[in-house]
């Protein structure tokens, strides 16, 4: 026993090193798997406070750019106002609906919340964005994030009371379901960590006609993103004869370097959709429970 204690005492530095190393690797791997690191909530609040202060100063210098962007959005919204459209009176007629149930009832599916970016990096392979809204303001995981002009930015991966972390499209683990605006065919958008101005669109069959300059929008099948919002433009087609699918280079519409004000979009039916999806999988993969 004494020898063991002596041994440990002799190599105490080495054991400290080993212990701390294991601790940090544990942090790293638990985060990579579940995006729920130890003490992350607490640390998030702290770094959030500091980032907010810093951003206040920095924002001042990019006001011009942001103003322009907001002006563009306002412009597009003003054009949609009802008073810009004229309806000829003669087409109006009264219809009496005898149905008891209102079949035109609409369900709200997406809810937009404004937020500001307080930390942002594009220099690594795994880029995250920090927002100044958290669970207190109703942000939860898996909400999508759109830039002020509506272009896709990323998906919320972790939330603390006043701040939230967004996995940007520039993240090697990010996969987003997107579609070609022209034809509606969908594929998966990924990033290979190389060039932040080139995202990769995979899984689009070669039978679809694609040209450089085609618009890529968020898909109708995405659980996170509202459909039809711009993601990017096709900037190149990689020829790969070994598969029947395109690999398309996509230039993102959002400029990740100067994100400031963003929208966090909640899919109000997300839980229902993902639960149904999961249940289906379970039912199919567990034939004993359901013989059909």
């Amino acid at each position: 026993m004494r020898n063991v204690i002596l041994f440990i005492r002799r190599y105490l530095t080495f054991f400290t090193f080993l212990l701390l190393q294991i601790l940090s690797l544990w942090f790293l791997y638990s985060y990579n798997k579940f995006h729920q690191a130890q003490f992350l909530q607490w640390a998030n609040e702290l770094t959030g406070q500091i980032n907010t202060r810093y951003k206040k100063v920095e924002n001042f210098f990019v006001l011009g750019e942001e103003n322009k962007r907001l002006h563009r959005v306002n412009d597009s919204l003003l054009n949609l106002l009802a008073q810009q459209y004229v309806q000829p009176d003669t087409t109006k007629r009264l219809v009496v609906d005898t149905l008891l149930q209102d079949s035109t009832r609409q369900t709200r599916r997406y809810y937009f919340r404004p937020a500001s970016v307080i930390y942002n990096s594009t220099s690594g392979e795994k880029n995250y964005i920090q927002l100044d809204r958290g669970s207190v303001e109703g942000i939860t995981e898996n909400m999508s994030v759109l830039n002020a002009d509506g272009s896709a930015v990323g998906i919320v991966v972790s939330v603390s009371p006043h701040f939230s972390q967004v996995m940007s499209l520039l993240h090697v683990r990010q996969k987003v379901n997107v579609a070609l605006k022209k034809t509606g065919d969908f594929g998966t958008l990924e990033w290979d960590g190389a060039d932040p101005s080139v995202l990769l669109l995979k899984g689009l069959p070669k039978s679809v006609p694609v040209k450089v300059g085609d618009v890529v929008v968020s898909s109708r099948y995405s659980f996170n993103f509202p459909p039809g919002y711009p993601v990017g433009l096709v900037s190149g087609i990689v020829s790969d004869n070994s598969t029947n699918f395109y690999v398309l280079k996509v230039r993102p519409s959002a400029r990740f370097n100067n994100l400031q004000h963003v929208f966090v979009v909640e899919n109000l039916q997300y839980t229902e959709q993902s639960k149904l999806d999961e249940d289906t999988r379970k039912r199919i993969e567990d034939p004993k429970r359901n013989p059909r």
Binding site: T13, Q21, F27, G124, V172
Partner: protein
């Protein structure tokens, strides 16, 4: 006491530069990610005990990690650096007197050639481990090699001008005052 405050100020400065400058600038190249904050660990005094150094390295790395959203990555790399540092210092310091004359590693206390070796080796080991951990989860072996050397080179390119531009005021350590 002055020593402690000086080092804390240094740490805050380097963290600020790392988080708000080096990681906020537009993407340079896929293989180049400059990093600077770890010279805080290289500049710590000679007299610091290895175990304390390990703890300091761990927390320094962890702070950077929580800012950059990669809990454990930088902490792990800093630990490797802190573990190697004492051995390197023993090898590189002239036996007789310098170790006791100056407080911390610098071009003056170690002389230029050994100091550059000291910095290069530690920067290299730091980046090797960091890129190695990234490579485990993503990327190819070629990327790993190129990225290690490129990041080491670019970091040295930052560190050596800093040493030249801001020579730290090194005084002989005497028994009078502190």
């Amino acid at each position: 006491m002055r020593e402690v405050i000086r080092n804390i100020v240094r740490l805050l400065l380097f963290l600020f530069i790392e988080v708000y400058v080096l990681h906020s600038i537009p993407h340079l190249h896929r293989f180049i990610s400059p990093s600077l904050y770890f010279i805080f660990l290289l500049w710590l005094p000679f007299s610091i005990r290895p175990r304390l150094l390990l703890w300091i390295a761990f927390f320094t790395g962890l702070i950077v990690d929580y800012f950059l959203q990669s809990p454990g990555l930088h902490a792990s790399a800093c630990l490797v650096l802190a573990f190697i540092r004492p051995f390197l210092i023993t090898v590189l310091t002239p036996r007789d007197s310098t170790e006791f004359n100056y407080r911390e590693p610098s071009p003056q206390s170690l002389l230029w050639a050994p100091y550059v070796i000291y910095i290069t080796l530690l920067t290299f080991s730091y980046h090797t481990w960091l890129v190695f951990l990234e490579w485990l989860s993503f990327g190819s072996f070629g990327d790993f090699l190129i990225k290690t050397f490129a990041s080491t080179a670019i970091s040295l390119l930052l560190i050596i001008p800093i040493e030249l531009l801001f020579p730290r005021q090194m005084r002989y350590r005497t028994n009078v005052g502190s």
